[in-house]
Amino acid sequence: MRNMAAIFKRDARGYFTSPIAYVVIGLFLVVTGIFYYLMLRSFLQYSYAVMMQRAGVSVNVNLMMVRPFLLNMSVIVLFIVPVITMRSFSEDKKAGTMELLLTNPVTNWQIILGKFFASYLLYIVMVSVTFIFMLFLFIWGEPQFMPIFIGYLGILLMGAGLIALGNFISSLTENQIVAAVGTFGATMLLWVIGFAGDYAGKIFGSILKYLSIVEHFDDFSKGIFDTSHLVFYLSLMFVMLFLTYQSIESAKWRG
């Protein structure tokens, strides 16, 4: 436990004492902020128009504003996660510090989980900062809290799977660029696989749709908490963590 905490602390500090964390969070805020602004503007125009036609009727903020925003965010994180996870193992492999970790009384799982939670922490912070946008809605509107909460929970669960995926790919190479591009390719694949599902046959199509990481977020964005999606994200996470373990072990054997 203490070993894992030590590795977690070191990696988390590595993120937050270097520009990486701030560049990532800043970039994420700018992109989500632009979408937020555009959506808010069209939402206001729409609700204004509705109000002009029928006095007293208000448009549902959760459905018309929060949901598209969350759906949007679920795609943007696919682009950001590779940047978060690219260094987690690659850097240690390159600098030779992997040798330090592996020759000290630390188990593989302590290394993997320490690194996973460090990069996941950055993800959580990054996503949480966008909650400021929601606060504005609460100040000037009357959105329901639970659907927003469940939506954010969905983003975080999806992130757990994505971060584990990124960590796994980072454990395969000592080149950070390769790790980033590889993870980017993988997240894109998990996204577009859902589109392909529309054109594939009935059974094959539903399999493809099931594998699409964004598809599972749809219910969360509506404020519906379905355990089958929870299971999907957690399985993705566990499978990726397990693969990371295998990757570290096999690297030892290959030398």
């Binding site: 203490r2 030779g96 020759t103 000290n104 009384p105 030398g255």
Partner: protein, 315 residues
């Protein structure tokens, strides 16, 4: 303290280590000597548990590396060839981190960092980032890291590489002083370094153990003598006495008794005096039976040559 038995390591089809066996006693400083790519680093990495062996066993303090890796890792301080530093960390934070994963008592972490920093005299750079340090200082921080938690076994892969002459002397002195309490394996491709610090030397070449001896004996063997093995049928004491009387012979010992009247003798003679002819006629003239006569394999001299030329290039 360290027992290596029949160690074999393949990288794919390439054999990096071919059947090495040796052991290191407690408090001994063992030097690993060999040209580059001889298998020194691979052997050390296997002992530290960084990678598994293809065949063979390694035991440290009675624990098998493969079966009880954590118990072994707890007892080893390891300095890899390139000091494993986190460049984005201050030296102090880095050493604290190492102390934590080595399981130093929470309250004792700061004191432990101070202790090792003092030992390798890096106290004045503790608050600098590793990135800003020179090669020599990085090497010392690497050494400090290995010393944390005072492990009984130290494994140092080329500890003096990249240091200036003054620092080299300091580090050698440090290693010597650590030798009284620790069991140390250090690798080097510099011959004098071994004779200065080590109590025993293992010479490795192309994955094979070529020789294992004290530095004094080795140097004597390498520089002042030629070794010949001779198997003679005859009264062993008489034969030994006769061989010792030859003027070219420096020393002669009985290597193996193969019976009451048959013995294998190891004869060391002065360089350049090929005594095989004389030895043969001695045996024959004394009416003993000459069963075998062979010079020691040349590989040791060849390696020695490689090592010495390397040293001259450095100077």
């Amino acid at each position: 303290m360290i027992e290596v038995r029949n160690l074999v390591k393949y990288y794919g089809d390439f054999p990096a280590v071919k059947d090495i066996t040796f052991s290191v006693e407690k408090g001994e400083i063992l030097g690993f000597l060999g040209p580059n790519a001889a298998g020194k680093t691979t052997t050390m990495r296997i002992i530290t548990g960084y990678m598994p062996a293809t065949r063979g066993t390694v035991k440290v303090a009675g624990y098998d590396v493969f079966e009880h890796p954590l118990e072994v890792k707890k007892r080893i301080g390891y300095l890899p060839e390139n000091p494993p530093l986190y460049m984005d960390m201050r030296v102090r934070d880095y050493l604290r981190f190492v102390a934590e994963i080595k399981g130093v008592d929470r309250k004792g972490v700061n004191a432990e960092v101070e202790r090792v920093a003092e030992l390798v005299s890096i106290t004045h750079v503790l608050d600098k980032y590793a990135q800003k340090l020179s090669k020599g200082y990085r090497q010392r921080v690497g050494l400090a890291q290995a010393l944390i938690n005072n492990p009984p076994v130290l494994i140092l892969d080329e500890p003096t590489i990249g240091l200036d002459p003054k620092q080299i002397i300091e580090v050698r002195e440090l290693i010597k002083s650590l030798g009284s309490e620790h069991t140390i394996i250090l690798s080097t491709h510099i011959l004098p370094e071994v004779s200065m610090t080590c109590s025993r030397v293992v010479i490795i070449n192309e994955g094979k153990l070529v020789a294992m001896d004290t530095p004094e004996n080795l140097t004597a063997r390498l520089q002042g003598s030629e070794t010949v093995f001779v198997e003679v049928e005859g009264p062993i004491q008489d034969v030994l006495g006769a061989i010792e009387k030859m003027e070219e012979v420096i020393s002669a010992t009985v290597e193996q008794r193969k019976g009451d009247e048959v013995g294998l003798f190891k004869v060391q003679a002065r360089v350049g005096s090929d005594i095989r002819k004389k030895l043969a006629s001695l045996v024959v003239n004394s009416n003993w039976g000459l069963l075998e006569l062979r010079p020691e394999k040349l590989s040791l001299e060849e390696i020695f040559l490689k090592l010495t030329t390397k040293e001259e290039e450095l100077n």
